[in-house]
């Protein structure tokens, strides 16, 4: 089963994929209106808001937790390599 390279969500059915296309590596939530994958900042913003909403976390804590998760994801390896340099 494929996992979204940008947020880690498991993609079980075609409707979970960007544009309903199972050949793509990212999910429907990590997609811009034009079909391209969201940027690092867009994804970070969305995931932080999701954590604050679903768990009521302090925003700074959510930012740190999202950062730790995004570090593990394939889509953001180059971003973190650049940031850590």
């Amino acid at each position: 089963m494929k996992k979204c390279i940008a947020c880690g969500m498991p993609m079980r059915q075609a409707s979970d994929f960007a544009q309903g296309n199972p050949d793509l590596d990212y999910c429907k939530y990590c997609t811009r209106p034009d079909g391209r994958m969201c940027s690092f900042e867009e994804n970070q913003h969305r995931l932080v808001n999701l954590m604050v909403k679903t768990q009521g976390l302090d925003r700074a804590v959510a930012v740190a937790q999202v950062d730790a998760s995004m570090r593990q994801l394939p889509a953001w390896q180059a971003h973190y390599q650049e940031e850590d340099r």
Binding site: L50, M51, V52, G56, S69
Partner: protein
């Protein structure tokens, strides 16, 4: 296809994790890996061949509990289904999960991260389940935390509610029923 040697290796690894989960559930997270080796009837070296450090073993144990938590709650089709699936997995790993939440400081940062990530995913699944039903107008985060608080209070004080046996097996249905009535 894995060869005989690879198969044996993965079986030994699975056995070590399985026994470690029992040992750490019964004792505490400070227990030595030597105690795990004795209980699993393998040499201490065998443990280290699969898990170079105790932290690696703790991370594997946390993953072993978190994976079914995430999978079962993802498959939930309604709020009652979510609550039942959540309780079912927690009941299965009750003693060990209690250690994870009561002895968090004994867990390495990477294991804590696995717990935090699983909790975040379970919270998203809770919200998806909430959307299938009509509930009081309360922030989703607070609703999730109320459920978590209820379950964890019983887990952490199980000696007062169920001195012998599983507190979730005894009170799981009551907690689900009470929570549903509180929020609807």
């Amino acid at each position: 296809m894995p060869n005989q040697r690879q198969l044996q290796k993965s079986q030994t690894r699975a056995k070590v994790v399985d026994v470690a989960m029992q040992v750490y559930a019964e004792q505490n997270l400070s227990t030595s890996t030597l105690a795990v080796a004795k209980a699993a009837h393998v040499s201490h070296g065998t443990i280290f061949a699969h898990f170079p450090t105790k932290d690696d073993l703790l991370i594997a144990m946390v993953q072993q509990v978190c994976t079914p938590l995430v999978t079962a709650t993802d498959a939930a089709t309604s709020l009652p289904d979510f609550l039942q699936q959540h309780i079912a997995v927690l009941t299965k790993y009750e003693a060990l999960y209690r250690r994870f939440i009561s002895e968090q400081d004994a867990l390495p940062a990477a294991a804590k991260q696995v717990l935090v990530a699983a909790q975040a995913t379970v919270a998203v699944h809770f919200q998806a389940a909430l959307a299938t039903t009509s509930v009081k107008s309360i922030a989703p985060g607070l609703l999730f935390n109320t459920w978590q608080g209820l379950v964890q209070y019983y887990l952490l004080n199980s000696e007062q509610f169920a001195p012998t046996g599983s507190v979730l097996a005894r009170y799981g249905d009551t907690l689900i029923d009470t929570f549903e009535r509180l929020i609807s």
